[in-house]
């Protein structure tokens, strides 16, 4: 077990180097003069220009710049925004709690709706409900999330308001605050549904196919032969094993959601890290983009690591299976 964990942790290192290298190369080849991005379009003396380049290490060769960059990263320094002049770490730190809140709200929806729909669908195979679940998961995977967000906005923000004469509606933009008419959590509802939609469909599909596969297994037949009721078989024997892959999927998905939902956050103008990175790309504020993506990638890697290791705890086949690819 320790050996497995050690090997899995070591795998993170080359990925981290690769990710930072790719990002670094991307910002090195991006068109545009970094000095101009820092100072704006104004004339300056060559001496001043050189001074700005020196202050940002832009006068050194690329490999040296990369080493300096990684060294700073490892010390928790994500650099300074070109345009805002603020530490990237502080800028991202302000936005990240919003993303975390949204991700957990979405995961709760995913767990409840996804697992329930999958179980119903598998237990009542070929029933009307099963067909409904199967079809709606296919549809949900194919819906563009931003369009789903817009539909929710129209229905809960506009149509519902008209129907109820302005009595009942939901906020469709922002994240609340002091001047808002609603408690802050209400602002999470529609974005969370939007963000959860696709993953909920996948969770339901995996739950269904796992449960169906396990209900055909020998030990389930034995349990039935032993005289257990259908209910007992499902809850005691089948579900426990069928849940492992679903929980793994949801764990990995939490990582993905914590990486900022650029589309959901844009549609709902929700001030999370995805929107922040997107806006930074638009104004070519590369330190913010790189800092944001590195932060997000590290979060995803750590969560994937935790999921993999706990999977190995739950399922001995993984840890004794030799090359766990």
């Amino acid at each position: 077990m320790l050996k497995y964990i050690a090997r899995r942790v070591l795998q993170v290192i080359p990925v981290f180097i690769g990710v930072t290298l790719v990002l670094f190369l991307l910002q090195a080849v991006v068109p545009g003069d970094p000095v101009k991005m820092i100072t704006g379009e104004r004339a300056m003396s060559p001496a001043l220009r050189l001074q700005i380049m020196k202050a940002n290490n832009l006068d050194k060769p690329l490999p040296v710049q990369y080493v300096i960059y990684v060294n700073k990263l490892l010390h928790g320094d994500l650099g300074t925004s070109y345009q805002r002049g603020r530490a990237v770490r502080d800028m991202l730190g302000e936005k990240y709690p919003y993303t975390v809140r949204l991700a957990f709200a979405a995961i709760i929806i995913e767990i409840i709706v996804g697992i329930a729909a999958g179980i119903i669908s598998a237990v009542k195979q070929y029933s009307f409900l099963d067909v409904l679940v199967t079809l709606s998961t296919s549809v949900l995977v194919s819906v563009p999330v931003f369009w789903l967000g817009m539909l929710l906005q129209v229905f809960f923000g506009i149509v519902l308001k008209q129907w109820t004469g302005g009595q009942m509606y939901m906020p469709i933009s922002g994240a609340g605050g002091l001047s808002s008419d609603f408690p802050d959590w209400v602002y999470l509802v529609l974005p969370a549904i939007t963000l959860a939609s696709v993953s909920t469909a996948y969770a339901a599909r995996i739950m269904r196919s796992q449960l169906l596969e396990i209900m055909g297994a020998d030990y389930i037949r034995t349990a039935r032969a032993k005289g257990l009721t259908s209910q007992g078989v499902i809850w005691k024997h089948a579900l426990k094993n069928a849940l492992i892959p679903v929980v793994t999927f949801i764990g990995l998905d939490l990582g993905a959601m914590l990486s900022g939902a650029i589309l959901t956050e844009t549609v709902f103008n929700y001030p999370g890290i995805g929107l922040e990175i997107y806006l930074a790309i638009g104004r070519r504020d590369w330190p913010v983009v790189m800092g944001g993506v590195v932060l997000v990638v590290v979060v995803v890697m750590v969560i994937n690591l935790i999921v993999d290791v706990s999977y190995a705890f739950l399922d001995p086949r993984i840890r004794y299976g030799g090359a766990a690819e």
Partner: protein, 327 residues
Amino acid sequence: MPDHDHIPHEARDRQETLDAIRETGQPYPPSEEFELHAADSRTLWGDALRRMLKNKLAVAAIVWLAIMVLLAVTADLWVPQTFGSPTKIDTATIVKQRLIPPSAAHPFGTDDLGRDIFARVVYGARISLAVGILATAISIVIGLMLGALSGYYGGLIDSAIMRLADVFFAFPYILFVVALIAVLGKGFINVFIAIGILGWASIARVFRSSILSVKENDYVDAARALGASDVRIMARHIMPNAVAPIIVYSTMSIGGAILTEAALSFLGMGVQPPTPAWGLMLNDAQNFMETAPWMMIWPGLAILTTVLAFVLLGDGLRDALDVKMKD
């Protein structure tokens, strides 16, 4: 479950080997040998086709995609003549035809610049289908090459390529595409290049694992013992048996590429106005959700149905070709 992939090829290879040694002394018999087997009525692909046609959803998907392709290809012949240009912007049209709800003359209504939405949806299909297919083609070419190297040679090459794949998987997908577009610049060509470049890793993994499962077979050893080159073994013995998962996977990833293109255009980083693209139309529609909801309904439905068709077609192919995939 009988493995449809392996039996005919394996049998054929044994036959090949024996014939070659007995009759000609050459490693391979004349190629006419293959014609005999191709004439068999129950082939892998024949079976697959038969199963496919029994699947109502898959057939519906094929019909829908055929309609979309037909509309997109013939658009120049009838759409502008009947509904007006999908791109032209002039003051007269804006004043006269702005935001007309769906009607006989404009079945899907018009947008804020007086352009017919049906015409724009039809022309948008060109962009979406083109990006979906071209991007997937790029992913397949890169993915097949790297996956083949990785699966066939193993060892250091394998580790290097798979670690590179890990790096690509570590990035949050949409963010990575957006960042790549920021470097490459906006526009149609860069969109499908960016989506294509980022898609290779999954294809490489799928192909690598199917190569791994095929290459240990006796007939591959036999071919190697007879002195067949690596390229020949890949092309003749491994590819035909490893290709089914790739077909299924690519079909589904066309849908994914269409969604990504729509997302990029929606974010303003993809196809640029006035070119009609579905994501771009939805971006415009955001400002008129209250006054002109039809502006957002039709492009959204177009994306949904097209992607859904590729997903259902992929499901159908998976069942018909009996490909095992993680759900």
